[in-house]
Symmetry: C2
Subunit: 495 residues, 2 copies
């Protein structure tokens, strides 16, 4: 299929159907120069000769030579035709001969940094996957999100956007959204802050990584709830911090144990409202003990308030931040959990001392968050839709949780697992007897089309946790009942 | 203004107008417990007594006690009333007495990491500011962006979004957008890649920081164009890399100088299509020399293709990536420069070896980019609007550049500054005589309402650059002429 060119035994690939011949000739000549088949300073046939050799119009050859001359591959010498440029490195790519070599690329031998080389599989990238199998955790009710309203708000906001909204970004976030968040958190979570302390981020993962970099040096100790959130663990390990697992019991993080294990830790990571994954609340006594320790130890506290907006019973405990008069609590939350996961907006309330360093670090990381999205969310707040959505979801989730609890009390799951007392959130921890190891249950459940997260994967130092994390927010009561029957089948069948 | 309560000399702040009295009493009691004015285990007056003392209904006092009991601040002992919880740390906050102490917060003594402490002012966070003064650099034409069309696409896309688009994110980016980018770059920039090598990011700053972390260890050498882009410099310095300034001349980066200065560098940062800030293109000879060096030195090349889509004369030089058969070029671009700055979407084309580590690191950093925005941009591509917009902008920018050049050739700026030959982009470098130091010119121009960036701020090791970076894309020809007259006034007046 290849034509032979009489000069230099040059092999050209045939032109693809429909491709202009000038473009074809340009590419073939350029490739020949780059692989060294056409040597530096060698003389090319005249445009007339080339046209004849390839059976194409001379104008086509001239059209191909133009860009080669302009780009420096060829040089034109008055009166003697065209030459391959003299100053090109000879046989640049050391490619073997034959037409296939042009696509045979070698891999670079350049390497990764130590950090890059150690990126482990503990916190794998998120890939597209089938969504919405029943009991998948960490998902809000996507069937109930008012997407038509959101689309209307977005369309209006974007059509009206002037050059300010198109051009002007603030590394701290869109000011009206920061103000709406400060107001909301004051009322809903007792957070004491001004809008100046609120920074809009893409979600809690970004806050975690930025805080980890800002306050941790290699070897610094960090209290981690055990069991606890893997994304936080990964962020701390990425900074080569020494993670100290601190056990969680029915009152939440065992603060006294933390003080024994690592009295001089630099940071404590905690989910006080609704411990991830066990679901318990940190008791008031421990809240105060934790704050007292942090003040004395000059430590920071990272309060991950990940789904505490959804509380079903009792008045919500105010945030740890609301009790903190020593300004050591970093309070983080995410709209991705409250509205929908692909929104990619969240917030952090920072102690005054950390505000400027955090904004600086975020600017280095990705400059500032998308402004139109923030403006739409600000409208969603200001027009009252946010509060309304949270209230509606609280009701819906309570109903979905009730359906789940019923299946475990008197339905197909009765006697098979033990759902922990749950006051808030989008998922419930369910404990299994030791005879049913949670990793095996996960596999058996998957075979039944049910997705459950084994609690044991969240263990850091301990080995006594055996159970499942059951998401109930993103499935209707009917779907929950159906899935419970399938899960019961998996539990019965495999053991 | 404060009432005296007979027990413990307790001082309550008066209730704010409109605040429910139960909420007021709850907060005041809670504050008194937290500051230690109400001691652990101390007995509270009966609800009847408290109601009488404060002249409020007994039901109001009961309503305030409820959450305090529930949250663990108070304990109820059968038959003997309510007590402050026994296990609360005594006088937790050690606050001085007086009603103002509750708001007097101390700053935490917790500190920053070495990295956090070194965050310098070289790359300050982006704050909201007045936009669109003439000659502001790095801004596309926001007056010409088809915002109504974008709003229409967004509204349609969002209204139709199902649970997949609301819930499903991929750390590598939205697949149809990755495919559209791969197709576009193949045609427009000669980039050789599959969609698998394309990762969607928030912009080039995110790519820079991720690449820096992924491939640089402290002390590793990095070639930086001198003068060069400050954001890249900051990203490399953040990893404690040793930045080696390599001079730029009329052929672009002086590759031979780089080889002399740091033959074993790990990374070279370069803007070959349109050097930032000088505007020159890297010659073909140097492109090939750079690639040959990188292959031999096992170095990576970071090709920042920041505004090369807008080329006014000649056929665009294909990207460096298109010449790279050793897979060492990381090719980065940004839609924030091509469409509008607050969009926060960009792309990187990675050598196969870096794809997985990069996606992993990005997932650790912020999980994945906003999906609806990506879907709207994918529609913008697929329906042909992207190509059309780029073509329209190329014409508009050529017209705006012509207006600028005219002011410098025969208009008010003639003889005052020397605009460098420019083939592409959104801004032009203009050199000043040594008698007009660019920092002073910036100040004088600002007083005239004109924003110019001094070229000298982009110098890393050298000290011979004196000039201005003049953005011309975001101002109409008429605005450019007017601003040129003002700039001429500033140049004439101040020296």
């Amino acid at each position: 299929m290849s034509k032979k060119a009489p000069f230099n035994e040059l092999v050209f690939r045939p032109a693809e159907a429909g491709k202009p011949l000038a473009a074809w000739l340009y590419e073939e000549l350029r490739a020949a120069i780059l692989d060294g088949r056409l040597k530096a300073s060698s003389r090319l046939p005249s445009t007339r000769q080339l046209a004849l050799q390839h059976g194409i119009a001379r104008g086509t050859v001239i059209a191909a030579f133009g860009p080669l001359l302009e780009e420096g591959y060829l040089e034109s010498r008055q009166g003697s035709g065209s030459y391959v440029a003299a100053n090109l490195p000879d046989r640049f790519f050391n490619a073997p001969s034959g037409p296939s070599r042009r696509t045979a690329a070698t891999q670079s031998e350049a390497g990764l940094s130590r950090w890059g080389g150690k990126l482990s599989a503990t916190f794998p990238p998120r890939a597209s996957k089938e969504l919405g199998l029943p009991f998948e955790a960490n998902l809000p009710a996507m069937d109930l999100f008012p997407i038509a309203l959101w689309g209307r708000l977005a369309g209006r906001r974007i059509r009206q956007a002037g050059r300010r909204l198109l051009g002007e970004g603030d590394s701290a976030g869109y000011r009206p959204l920061r103000e709406a968040v400060a107001d909301h958190l004051g009322v809903a979570r007792g957070v004491k802050c001004t809008a100046d302390q609120v920074v809009i981020v893409s979600g809690t993962q970004q806050t975690l990584q930025l805080v980890a970099r800002l306050v941790l040096d290699p070897g610094d100790r960090v209290w981690m709830e055990d069991p606890g959130y893997i994304g936080a663990l990964a962020a701390f390990k990425a900074e080569a911090a020494q993670v100290v697992p601190v056990p969680v019991d029915e009152q939440g993080l065992d603060v006294a144990a933390g003080q024994r294990l690592a009295p001089r830790a630099k940071l404590a990571y905690i989910t006080p409202a609704h411990q991830f994954p066990l679901g318990v609340s940190l008791s008031l006594e421990r809240r105060l003990a934790l704050l007292r320790w942090a003040q004395k130890a000059k430590a920071w506290i990272f309060e991950d308030d990940y789904d505490s907006e959804y509380r079903f019973s009792g008045k919500p405990l105010p945030s740890l931040q609301s009790l903190d008069s020593s300004q050591c609590v970093i309070f983080a939350g995410s709209f991705n959990k409250m509205l929908f996961p692909t929104l990619r907006l969240g917030y952090v309330v920072l102690p005054p001392k950390l505000v400027q360093p955090f904004i600086h670090a975020r600017s280095m990381m990705d400059r500032f968050p998308p402004v139109l999205d923030q403006a739409v969310l600000a409208d969603f707040f200001i027009e009252g839709h946010f509060g309304q959505h949270i209230r509606r979801m609280r009701e819906a989730y309570a109903e979905r949780l009730a359906a789940l609890l019923e299946t475990a009390e008197s339905g197909p799951l009765a006697g098979l697992l033990d759902i922990a007392y749950i006051q808030a959130g989008m998922q419930a921890a369910a404990f299994l007897p030791a005879t049913l190891p949670d990793m095996k249950v996960m596999t058996a459940a998957a075979a039944q089309g049910v997705e459950v997260l084994p609690l044991s994967v969240f263990q850091i130092g301990r080995t006594d946790i055996n159970g499942l994390l059951l998401g109930f927010a993103n499935a209707t009561p009917a779907a929950i009942r159906k899935a419970a029957a399938r899960l019961a089948k998996a539990l019965g069948r495999s053991f």
